[in-house]
């Protein structure tokens, strides 16, 4: 099924791979699903006329009108609760929590209702909604606008949690999330959207098929094969890991970079296969260090087969402090290339 909004004639020469930013890829997926299914609608703060403060909904209001693209008041409990109610009644809301850091004011709707209604109803009621939210730091937005917090959502049963790292996956995971009958939390990193006013990441613009497709939720992607160290990571850190892998390849160290793409379900098999090949595991996580994804990944490996590791597993994550505003302090806690490089080098010397 192709229901993208491109109406221009196809070029006669060999088609070049069309490129989009991550933000535009997200919008394209939502627009295609809205065109395909009249039950899909979008709701959130500044997602209509403004197009989303991170351009995640640009143009949807013009195409689909205010009944299906609804700006809400600043009351996350009210509008996320409304989305849960709509989903229970059979609609398929895509609802945006502007920054994940704001989850505190609406967590009852998220984890007591969105996540639990399917269970509490004995499987009789589904909640087919997508909660989209912006995550991540690196641009001096302070402790309440820079967190990732995917470990918090993944910890609570009942929600799938997806985290795309590039435009192709952003579109395919959005399509899969909207079509999924379970509640899906879709977390997009602000530094990966390709926004002109953010720090540039060259991989935030990339090839995206025009037809619609799904990236299966819960399948990790080995984005770079390598024999020496498995670097298991997600989101913006994938790109830092790839940069380090490029650099160290010239020094005879081959990193295998695993992009998890989802925390729930976690693709344990792909992690184990990779660590089985390399014998060394580094988890890079922009979320907090303790009680989170990095510890979970290592636990999954160790509880299945502790013999896979030829060296103690390592983690590069945000130490257990709030994200500082000052640029120099912020970059001291983020999982930077230099921290990743140091950890890889320590692993191969071990």
């Amino acid at each position: 099924m192709t229901s993208t909004d491109t109406s221009s004639p196809a070029p006669s020469a060999a088609p070049s791979q069309r490129k989009l930013s991550t933000a535009k890829a997200m919008v394209e997926a939502v627009a295609a699903e809205m065109a395909r299914d009249p039950n899909v609608f979008v709701m959130g703060e500044d997602i209509g006329a403004y197009g989303g403060i991170f351009s995640s909904t640009t143009g949807l209001l013009d195409t689909f009108g205010p009944e299906r693209v609804m700006d809400t008041p600043i009351s996350e409990t009210a509008f996320i609760g409304a989305a849960v109610g709509a989903a229970v009644e059979g609609l398929r809301p895509v609802v945006e929590l502007m920054f994940v850091d704001f989850f505190g004011v609406c967590m009852d709707q998220i984890y007591n209702h969105m996540a639990k209604i399917h269970f509490e109803s004995g499987g009789n009621v589904t909640v087919p909604m997508v909660l989209t939210t912006a995550v991540g730091g690196g641009y001096s937005d302070g402790a309440q606008h820079s967190q990732c917090l995917w470990g918090t959502f993944a910890h609570l049963p009942g929600m799938k949690v997806v985290v795309p790292s590039n435009p192709h996956d952003a579109k395919g995971l959005m399509t899969a999330a909207i079509r999924d009958d379970n509640p899906v939390v879709y977390m997009f990193h602000k530094g990966l959207l390709g926004l002109p006013w953010m720090a540039r990441n060259p991989r935030a613009v990339g090839p995206v098929p025009e037809e619609d497709y799904e990236v299966p939720i819960g399948r990790a992607d080995i984005v770079r094969p390598g024999r020496d160290v498995s670097v298991v990571t997600l989101s913006l850190s994938v790109h830092h890991a790839l940069d380090v892998a490029d650099e160290l390849s010239g020094h005879g160290v081959e990193c295998e970079v695993v992009d998890l793409r989802a925390l729930v379900p976690l693709d344990t098999d792909t992690i184990l296969e990779s660590v089985g090949r390399t014998g060394r595991l580094l988890v890079v996580d922009e979320d907090y260090l303790s009680f989170g994804l990095s510890g979970e990944v290592i636990a999954r490996v160790v509880e299945r087969d502790p013999g896979l590791l030829h060296a103690p597993a390592r983690r590069v994550a945000v130490p257990d402090v709030p994200i500082p505003y000052a640029r120099s302090l912020e970059y001291a806690v983020l999982p930077t290339r230099s921290r990743i490089r140091d950890a890889v080098l320590e692993l191969v010397d071990a």
Partner: protein, 77 residues
């Protein structure tokens, strides 16, 4: 030959400028009319440049360039 101008960002100031933020096509690529070519930024506002015609594109500006409105940023042949 068709020039692709930097879009109008101000009606009052003919010398208004913006930044060529992102090219979505590479030099020498064949494009169709209406294809997304580039995104430009003026302050924190982003605008798209769509291809005015079909053809092979030749880029005249690079990402990060500050460009006056109306100046050609690419040429189609």
């Amino acid at each position: 030959m068709t020039d692709v101008p930097f879009p109008e960002v101000s009606q009052r100031d003919p010398d208004a400028e913006g930044v060529l933020a992102t090219w979505f096509v590479a030099d020498g690529e064949r494009v169709a009319e209406g294809d997304l070519l580039a995104e430009v930024a003026v302050d924190k506002v982003a605008m798209e440049i769509l291809s005015p015609a079909a053809g092979v594109i030749h880029l005249l500006a690079t990402e990060g360039d500050v460009v006056r409105q109306g100046v050609a940023v690419a040429r189609l042949s």
